[in-house]
Subunit: 381 residues, 2 copies
C-alpha cells in the first residue's frame, strides 16, 4: 500500500480487460490497488492471525465488525485508544461492517421497523436499538476508514414480501446513513474523511435487486456493495445479481461483493467488474483442513497426506509452505493445536491475497480470461 | 546457538559465580550456552507458538514428549520424516522426555513392575507396555538430541514405601536405559550420538533422594536431571532436594531441574548450580492472563489494564511489547481468541529466555547474587 495524497476521486480505474479492471482506491490511510481481498478481523484480530501476520502477507485492508466491537470492548473504548487501526496495530486500511449482516442470526437480531433494528447482546441479553444515525456515529468512533451502511439484510429463503420490505428499509436507512455520516464529517478535511459504501439488497429477485440498486444510486455513495449473497444461493443466481447490480450502478464506482472468498467466485466476480471482497471462508475452511492451492482444493485430513513431506502448495512461497510439510500441518490440525489453525489459516489467506494480486497482473496483461479459466479448471469439483 | 565440532566433553563449565555457572553443552546439533530454559513442545509444537516463533525469540532448545508423540503420530512415523527436529522444522536442540512424567496422571499410567510400566492410550484405551529398552529405541527413533531415562516418578504425597519402590525401579530402569542406549548407538560416531540424562527421584525425602543420586552417579550418565519436583511441594523442600542432588552428583555434569519455570525458582536453582530448565508454566499461565514482567507478575485480566496503552513490559523488546498494548492483549485474551493466547504466550517465553540470558551475563560479571535478589524482590507475593 502506498501512502499518497488523497485524490479528488475516491476510485480510479487504471486498466481494463473486458469488464475486469484494475483500479486505485484512495483512502485516508493511503491507496489500495483493486481488486483486493480483505481478511476478516471481526474482533480486531484474525482467527489465529495477528495484524503483523496480515502485514507480512502484504494485506492492504481488513474488515472488522463494528457492531460486535461495540458490544465489547465498546466503540467509545476503541475511540479512546485511537481507533481500531491503532488498537490492533494494523498499518493498512480498516473497513468495518455495520452489523446488518448480524440480521442473519437469531442470536443477535430481534426485529426492525422504519426507525431501526432491535438486536440482543448475546453476552448479557440486553436489548440494543440500532438506528442508522447511531450506526454511523459508531463506525466513526471505531475509526473505520471505510464504513458500510446499516442495511436490512434478508435471507435468501425469506418470502418475496419480506425481501421487498428489506429493500424498502435498506434504502430508507441508507439515506439516513448518508445524511448523518456527511453531517458528522462536515468539519473534517476531505482527505481525512471516512468512505461510506451503500449496500444493495433484494435477494435473488431481479426486480428487487434492480430497485435497490436504482434507489441507492440516486443517493450517490462513494461506492457500492452487493449484500445478502453468498448465503447458500446457486452460483448462477449470485452471478446474475452481480450483473444486475453493476448494470444499474454503472462502472465508475468501486464494487464490493460481500462475503465471497472462494477462488472461483472471486475470479468470476472480478470478470464482471467487482473490485473488493471479504470472507471468513479461507480461515473457517482452513481450520477444518481444507487448503487452497494452485492446483485446487487440498483436503489435508485425507490419509494420503500423512507422510507427505511436500509443502501445502509447491507453487506457494508463504511462510508455511517454506517451513512446514503437509504431514506436519495435517498432524497439528488433527491435534486441534492453535499452531495447526494458525499455519492453515495463514496459508489460505496468503493464497487469496496472491490470487487477487495475480488477477491484477492478468488484467494489466489483458490475459484475465485465461487466468480465470485456469482457476476454474483447478477448482472444478 | 553455534554449531561447532563436538568436544570430547559433553559439558564444559566456563565461568562461575558461587555455585552458579555458565557452561557449554555440546550436542550433535551444536553448542548451547547454559543455563538455558526450554519451552515445552509436547506434540512437536508450542501451545500457540510455532518453531519459527521459538527461533525468532533466540530459543536454543525445546522439549517434546516422546511418549505422547509415540501414540500419535507415532515414533516410526517421525523417524520416517527425519526426526522430530525436521518434522517441526526447529533449528535448535530437540530434547524429549521419556513418558516417566505421565505417571502423575491416571489418564495415562496404570501400574508398573520391575520389567516396565503399563500405560493406557487415552485416544483408544489400548494398553501399552513400556520398558526401558523400548523407551530408548523410541527416543532414538523420534530423533531426540538429548533423551531422558525412563524413570518411575512418584507423587510428592505418595507414602514413603512407594517412593522407596520408585527409587529402586528408577535405578533399575536407568541401568537398562543406559545399556540399551549405548548398544543402539555403538555404530554411531561419537559426535553424532544422542545425549542421555539420568533422573533422580526420592520425593522430598533426604535419604531417598541421596540414595537415588548415589545409585545413578555410579551409572555415569552424560548429565543428571532432578525429577519428581515442582509438583506442589514447598519451595524449601524443593531447594533442599536440589542441594542434596548436587552434593552427591558433584559439579562437573550438567544439571537439569525438570518442570521449573517460575522466575524465582529459576534464579534460586541457578544459584545452586542448575543449568537446564523446562516448564509449561509460562504458556499455561499466559493463557490465564498471568504475564511475566521485569517488575513482577502482571494479572492482565484486572480491570485497571482495560485502557492501558503501555506494552506488557516497558523493559521488554519482544514482538508483542513492540506492537501491542496491554489493553489489546487483555481484550483478545478475554475473547479467548487464538491471537490472545499467542501474544501472551510469546511474551512469557521471551521473558524467560531473556531472564536466563541475563542470568548468564550476571554470572560472567560475578554479579549473580544482585541479579537474583532483584528478581526475588520483583516477584515477592
Amino acid at each position: 500500500m502506498k501512502i499518497t495524497q488523497r485524490n479528488k476521486k475516491i476510485f480510479e480505474i487504471k486498466e481494463r480487460d473486458g469488464k475486469a479492471r484494475v483500479g486505485i482506491l484512495h483512502t485516508r490511510k493511503g491507496d489500495v490497488m483493486t481488486p483486493f481481498f480483505m481478511p476478516v478481523a471481526t474482533k480486531a484480530t484474525g482467527k489465529h492471525l495477528s495484524s503483523k501476520d496480515f502485514e507480512e502477507m502484504g494485506c492492504d485492508a481488513v474488515i472488522s465488525n463494528s457492531f460486535i466491537l461495540s458490544l465489547s470492548p465498546g466503540a467509545e473504548f476503541i475511540k479512546k485508544l485511537g481507533g481500531v487501526g491503532k488498537f490492533m496495530n494494523f498499518g493498512g486500511v480498516n473497513v468495518t461492517d455495520s452489523g446488518g449482516f448480524q440480521m442473519y442470526s437469531d442470536k443477535f437480531y430481534k426485529r426492525s421497523n422504519d426507525e431501526g433494528a432491535w438486536f440482543s447482546n448475546p453476552m448479557n441479553g440486553d436489548e440494543i436499538f440500532m438506528t442508522p444515525e447511531k450506526n454511523m456515529a459508531m463506525q466513526l468512533a471505531i475509526g473505520a476508514d471505510i464504513a458500510m451502511c446499516l442495511d436490512r439484510m434478508p435471507l435468501i429463503e425469506d418470502d418475496k414480501h419480506e425481501i421487498e420490505e428489506a429493500v424498502r428499509k435498506t434504502t430508507l436507512w441508507a439515506r439516513r446513513c448518508k445524511d448523518e455520516q456527511t453531517r458528522l464529517q462536515k468539519r473534517i478535511p476531505k482527505g481525512k474523511r471516512q468512505i461510506l459504501l451503500g449496500i444493495t439488497q433484494g435477494g435473488i429477485h431481479d426486480k428487487l435487486r434492480k430497485q435497490s440498486a436504482s434507489e441507492l444510486k440516486n443517493l450517490d455513495f462513494d461506492g457500492y456493495a452487493i449484500g445478502g449473497l453468498a448465503l447458500g444461493e446457486e452460483k448462477k443466481d449470485e452471478y446474475r445479481m452481480i450483473k444486475i447490480h453493476k448494470s444499474i450502478i454503472g462502472e465508475d464506482k468501486i464494487t464490493y461483493l460481500m462475503g465471497v472468498g472462494h477462488p472461483v467466485e472471486l475470479v468470476e466476480a472480478i470478470s464482471m467488474g467487482v473490485d473488493m471482497f471479504d470472507s471468513r471462508f479461507p480461515t473457517q475452511t482452513a481450520r477444518h483442513g481444507m487448503l487452497l492451492t494452485s492446483k485446487g482444493k487440498l483436503r489435508i485430513d485425507k490419509s494420503e497426506y500423512r507422510f507427505d513431506l511436500r509443502p501445502i502448495d509447491e507453487n506457494c512461497d508463504c511462510k508455511v509452505c517454506k517451513n512446514y510439510s503437509r504431514a506436519y500441518v495435517r498432524y497439528q490440525l488433527s491435534q486441534k493445536e492453535g499452531v495447526g489453525y494458525h499455519l492453515a489459516s495463514y496459508h489460505n489467506i496468503y493464497f487469496l491475497i496472491r490470487l487477487v494480486e495475480n488477477a491484477r497482473q492478468a488484467i494489466k496483461a489483458r490475459k484475465f480470461e485465461q487466468f480465470k479459466k485456469k482457476i476454474i479448471l483447478a477448482y472444478k469439483e
